[in-house]
């Protein structure tokens, strides 16, 4: 679920939509949490969707460490990438604001953490823009991302957290919730590195979307027939 003080706005036909703050949101606020209505789909389930829906999932879902597609039910799914994002991920279920966000400012996140299947050119225009965002960025940059998240988390207990009642915590998130329930922020957060899905390397996946799934493996009966024909 995306923070209530946000709205969806159309940016341009090349970028599509984006999520914008409608009020001041202080550093340390959870901008998004995973909730029970965000749809979790296996690659097979995505593959079985009618083409017009498969396109939507490939465009607006992200991939979690287990290889599942997470398709947010609300406009959280339209958050764009930035090389200097307004939030960092924590655990499986949180995006935390790493700086104060002003009304009208676009909310953004780091796609390099989201198990993208291939690189894409970035034109976020932020200082330090990497120009290209790829699956290998995580391994190189996770210490910076971890440090930003840890810094922002110090403020998590002292700002309003309207999304906390709605979170669907994963195994790595319970410790965070317990600490916050005590009004504390004394916790060592899970590393971004743990969010990496094994086997995601640049260029191994066919398809148009950043999270496009590989084509289904060739069907066995057909291969058998071919083998038989060759033998004859």
């Amino acid at each position: 679920m995306i923070h209530p003080h946000t709205e969806l706005k159309f940016i341009s036909s090349s970028v599509g939509h984006g999520v914008f703050a409608t009020a001041f949101i202080p550093k340390g606020t959870f901008l998004w949490v995973l909730d029970p209505f965000d749809r979790i789909l296996t690659a097979d389930e995505v593959r079985a969707l009618p083409p017009m829906l498969k396109t939507a999932v490939e465009r607006w879902a992200y991939v979690d460490p287990t290889g599942h597609f997470v398709f947010c039910w609300d406009h959280g799914r339209y958050m764009n990438h930035s090389c200097r994002p307004t939030s960092r991920g924590i655990g499986d279920a949180f995006e935390i604001a790493v700086r104060d966000i002003q009304p009208g400012e676009e909310l953004s996140c780091e796609y390099g953490i989201l198990n993208i299947a291939k690189s894409f050119p970035c034109a976020c225009g932020q200082p330090g823009c990497r120009g290209s965002v790829g699956p290998g960025d995580l391994e190189r940059l996770f210490p910076i991302w971890d440090a930003e998240a840890q810094d922002a988390f110090q403020y998590a207990a002292s700002v309003a957290q309207p999304l906390l009642p709605f979170v669907k915590a994963g195994p790595r998130d319970h410790a965070i919730l317990e600490v916050l329930a005590k009004g504390s922020t004394e916790a060592e957060l899970p590393s971004h590195r743990d969010y990496r899905r094994e086997g995601v390397t640049d260029g191994t996946v066919e398809g148009d979307g950043l999270w496009a799934i590989a084509a289904a493996p060739a069907r066995r009966p057909r291969a058998t027939r071919r083998a038989g024909a060759a033998a004859r």
Binding site: R39, P50, L53, A56, V57, P165, F166
Partner: protein, 193 residues
């Protein structure tokens, strides 16, 4: 999924947003189809949710005839009520344009057909000549729109249908048959759908 020639626009602070046509959607066009990304929320699935979800459920879901709530994944969930709706049929698993919907006009439903609970009635400000003033649980809402629905369904094959890939012929057939049935029989059939 909602018809592709639509967009969500802010109406005002009271109504919030609504779904507007961006191109002509002729009468008889499928305007919405229940699809695999829409979520059927059974009473069992909703039972563990705390009271913090009550407002959310009211805002974003509707009731199906079998006692579930339905959460549409896209702008379908932002369709507003009108006492003179431009779309109808939700219980059939799809909706159809009851009139020609021109660019800039809103896609609307009669919420009376959406199995409102007693607590979900509201004061209507749709502005239609037929406006009932108060929209409340309404057993006769379906009957009210049956003639329009039948006429619109008769046009199904005469207009472009971008949502056709999401509606199986069996669902379409069942829907067309259901609108010709007496009320009790129709309700029984729709539960089966």
């Amino acid at each position: 999924m909602i018809h592709p020639d639509t967009e969500v626009r802010r109406v005002d602070d009271v109504v919030g947003v609504g779904v507007f046509a961006t191109a002509l959607i002729p009468r008889g066009t499928l305007t919405w189809a229940l699809d695999p990304l829409d979520q059927l929320l059974t009473p069992e699935r909703l039972a563990p949710l705390g009271p913090q979800w009550d407002t959310w459920l009211d805002h974003h879901t509707y009731h199906d005839p079998a006692g579930n709530r339905v959460l549409c994944w896209d702008a379908g969930r932002s369709m507003n009520h009108s006492c003179r709706p431009t779309c109808g049929g939700s219980d059939l698993g799809f909706e159809v344009a009851l009139v020609d919907i021109h660019p800039g006009e809103q896609l609307t439903n009669d919420y009376g057909t959406l199995h409102l609970e007693a607590s979900e009635g509201f004061t209507c400000r749709c502005g239609a000549v037929e406006c009932r003033g108060i929209v409340a649980p309404d057993g006769s809402a379906w009957e009210r729109w049956l003639p329009e629905l039948r006429d619109a369904l008769a046009l199904l094959t005469t207009v472009p249908q971008p949502l056709a890939p999401l509606v199986t012929p069996a669902v379409l057939r069942a829907g067309r048959r259901a609108v010709g049935l007496p009320a009790t029989e129709r309700r029984r059939r729709l539960h089966a759908v």
